[in-house]
């Protein structure tokens, strides 16, 4: 577990640096067990920072989300670095963004968090419903310990752990300037059980399955906006001329949207699972992304977000690339 005092001490140093504009980390949320992103610009604010298994957000998204507004005449653009706290999975978003030349390595300061797993907040809130007062979650051995309303509850880790953590191959960040704790060695692997189950279904079964899910979609685009790999300034979805995707919401357009997004993430999705976490109507989007992930791994022996020096998968061509799946 990351020692919060050590985290704040390091954060204080980083934020005090003249070449750092802000630090993006986590702070306590407004109710229950929630934690939320924190944007720290001065050493006085550093004591807000926390890290716990409730810190689920992938903060790498914010590196490309912030608007680049025109600089008023007479002012200089602020070119100072941004510091960001990342878990193992989140760090792969940084690697992939840099692989795609979204920004240069020297633009960011990375505080790496060796991660022993985060909770699935839906599971927590289902188990402990209607907790208003601010509660805390800590990992002690193989149990999550939840403290709230003067109570202390222990739950086996397995029962509240986020699914993505159960198959995490990279718990220790792959890129960092400072590591906030001892390295965590791999404690799980991916057997693609969910994807294999999906593959076994007939086309009719698959359609019935996805039709039910997609019919709930309200096209709030939270899956796109939270995604660290969805950082196009001009998204194909927002285009009006030509209008590739209609604004009207029906099963046909919505299916097209999700298929388009899955394809745009092929060889790029780093499996942080944020799209599925944020979906208000619980569409299991990671099943689509993971199907592509598995295909890419099997066909090209490539894992996105693991090597910043490697060229992006879709920007490479080898004469012996597999192509037997092309119709």
């Amino acid at each position: 577990m990351v020692d919060v005092e050590k985290l704040r001490e390091i954060a204080r140093e980083v934020v005090s640096r003249e070449d750092v504009r802000q630090l993006i980390g986590y702070r306590q949320g407004t109710y229950g067990f929630r934690a939320r992103p924190a944007f720290i610009t001065s050493p006085e604010e550093v004591d807000q920072l926390i890290f716990s298994p409730a810190c689920v957000n992938n903060l790498a998204t914010y590196l490309t989300l912030e608007e680049r507004l025109p600089v008023p005449r007479g002012q200089e653009p602020d070119l100072r670095k941004v510091a960001v706290m990342v878990k193992g999975c989140d760090s792969r978003a940084l690697v992939q963004q840099m692989e795609e030349k979204a920004y240069e390595r020297d633009r960011i300061v990375v505080l790496g968090i060796p991660c022993t797993g985060v909770v699935d907040m839906d599971k927590v809130e289902k188990r402990f419903p209607n907790v208003l007062s601010r509660g805390e979650i800590a990992l002690e051995g193989d149990k999550f310990v939840l403290s709230f309303d003067g109570k202390r509850e222990e739950v086996p880790k397995e029962e509240l752990l986020a699914d993505k953590c159960k198959r995490c191959r990279y718990p220790t960040p792959l890129v960092y300037d400072q590591l906030l704790d001892e390295e965590v060695s791999r404690f799980a692997d991916d057997d693609y059980a969910d994807v294999l189950a999906l593959e076994k279904r007939s086309a009719e079964e698959k359609w019935a399955y996805w039709e039910e899910k997609f019919s709930r979609c309200i096209r709030c685009y939270s899956c796109r906006n939270v995604c660290p790999m969805c950082y196009c300034e001009d998204c194909v979805l927002d285009r009006l001329n030509p209008q590739w995707m209609r604004r009207s919401v029906d099963i046909s357009e919505t299916t097209a949207y999700h298929i388009a997004r899955a394809y745009h993430l092929a060889g790029r999705c780093i499996q942080c699972g944020e799209c599925q976490r944020v979906c208000p109507v619980e569409i299991p989007l990671m099943e689509l992304n993971r199907k592509f992930y598995k295909d890419v791994e099997e066909l090209y022996d490539y894992e996105p977000g693991t090597d910043a020096e490697a060229p992006p998968l879709l920007a490479t061509f080898k004469v012996d690339d597999r192509e037997d799946f092309i119709l």
């Binding site: 407004t30 939320r36 957000n57 507004l69 939270s222 109507v281 619980e282």
Partner: protein, 339 residues
């Protein structure tokens, strides 16, 4: 108006009777509670907290055709809402019913929106009082509502355990109650008192609150306040808070053409999207999440009450519960009050 009782063992039969109308009720899609048209009472899921997507979509669909057109034909074939038929929304929460009366102000203001208003006319609202506030983030009592409030409902049901107390509130409600009259019985003595007691304890159980009295006047003075940048820093710019809001009503209108035929339709839009205020010529008067967040709060708590005398928020808590980054409207309003 009469007070009746609907025993729980008669609910399915009553719902079966109501399927002769377009019956909308809470149902489960996987684990998600949605309002949808049901044809089989078994589909109804009445033991729910609240739906993820509010039932506003029944009277204000996410996408609707206004009219169809054809090349070379000057005639516009207008949508006839009447064809959708008499609609009953069964089991909506009092906050969501109240939200519709708030949105009515907008759609009957400078221009009477025939599609929305016709649908409202065709719809009977059967509410389900919140005997237990469904979420820790409910705050209806701060914005003029209450867990077992009757505003804008035609019938209110209050769960007494073995059955529902049925309060007829309007002529429409009385008519609907007659339709299912054979499944209703006279409320036994003491049930009104029990319902009152439950409503009272439900009100007490709403745990979050905000004093809204000075907010409308305060907001315009905070236009340049640094608080907007602070509270919007984590915003992803997605549409969750607005699309799941029972009072948000922004829409876009587009022509969709295929070959020689097309339709003009309108669909929900969100002030949290970049494209919402993007001008065709390029500039955007709300260039960043800061301005969009400021607009969302100002619209609900200042512009709308300024124009229509009512806050455009019913305290359902959905925007708090489902925000992926824990942006909390009560925290923002608290900062406004303190500023």
């Amino acid at each position: 108006m009469a007070v009746k009782k609907l025993n729980k063992d008669k609910v399915k039969e009553a719902l079966q009777e109501l399927t002769k109308f377009r019956l909308i009720a809470p149902a489960k899609s996987d684990e998600v509670v949605v309002f949808k048209q049901i044809s089989d009472p078994e589909e109804a899921f009445l033991d729910y907290g609240n739906s993820t997507v509010p039932p506003k979509k029944v009277v204000f669909p996410q996408t609707e055709t206004l009219f169809r057109f054809q090349r070379g034909n000057p005639e516009l074939r207008e949508k006839n809402v009447e064809e959708e038929g008499t609609t009953v929304i069964f089991g909506l929460r009092p906050c969501d019913a109240r939200a519709m009366s708030i949105v009515d102000n907008l759609f009957s203001w400078d221009y009477e929106d025939p599609y929305y208003l016709k649908r409202r006319e065709l719809t009977t609202l059967v509410g389900m009082g919140c005997v237990n506030p469904p979420s820790v983030n409910c705050f209806c009592t701060s914005v003029g509502g209450e867990p077992c409030g009757t505003e804008n409902l035609d019938i209110l049901l209050i769960d007494l355990g073995e059955g529902y107390l049925v309060r007829e509130l309007t002529e429409k409600g009385k008519k609907l109650a007659e339709t299912i009259g054979s499944f209703l019985e006279d409320a036994p003595g003491g049930s009104e008192a029990k319902a009152e007691e439950l409503s009272g304890s439900a009100k007490e159980a709403v745990s979050r609150s905000i004093d809204t009295s000075g907010i409308e006047a305060k907001l315009p003075t905070l236009w340049e306040s640094p608080l907007w940048k602070e509270v919007s820093a984590a915003c992803l710019g997605c549409g969750i808070c607005t699309y799941l809001c029972p009072t948000c009503h922004c829409f876009d209108i587009q022509d969709e053409v295929e070959g020689a035929e097309g339709r003009r339709c309108r669909m929900w839009d969100s002030c949290m999207f970049r494209a919402h205020t993007l001008h065709a010529s390029g500039p955007n008067p709300r260039p960043a999440r800061k301005e969009r967040t400021r607009n969302r709060i100002n619209h609900k708590y200042s512009y709308f009450p300024g124009k229509f005398g009512v806050i455009a928020c019913v305290g359902c808590g959905r925007c708090i519960n489902l925000c992926p980054v824990n942006i909390d409207i009560l925290e923002i309003l608290g900062k406004v009050v303190e500023a």
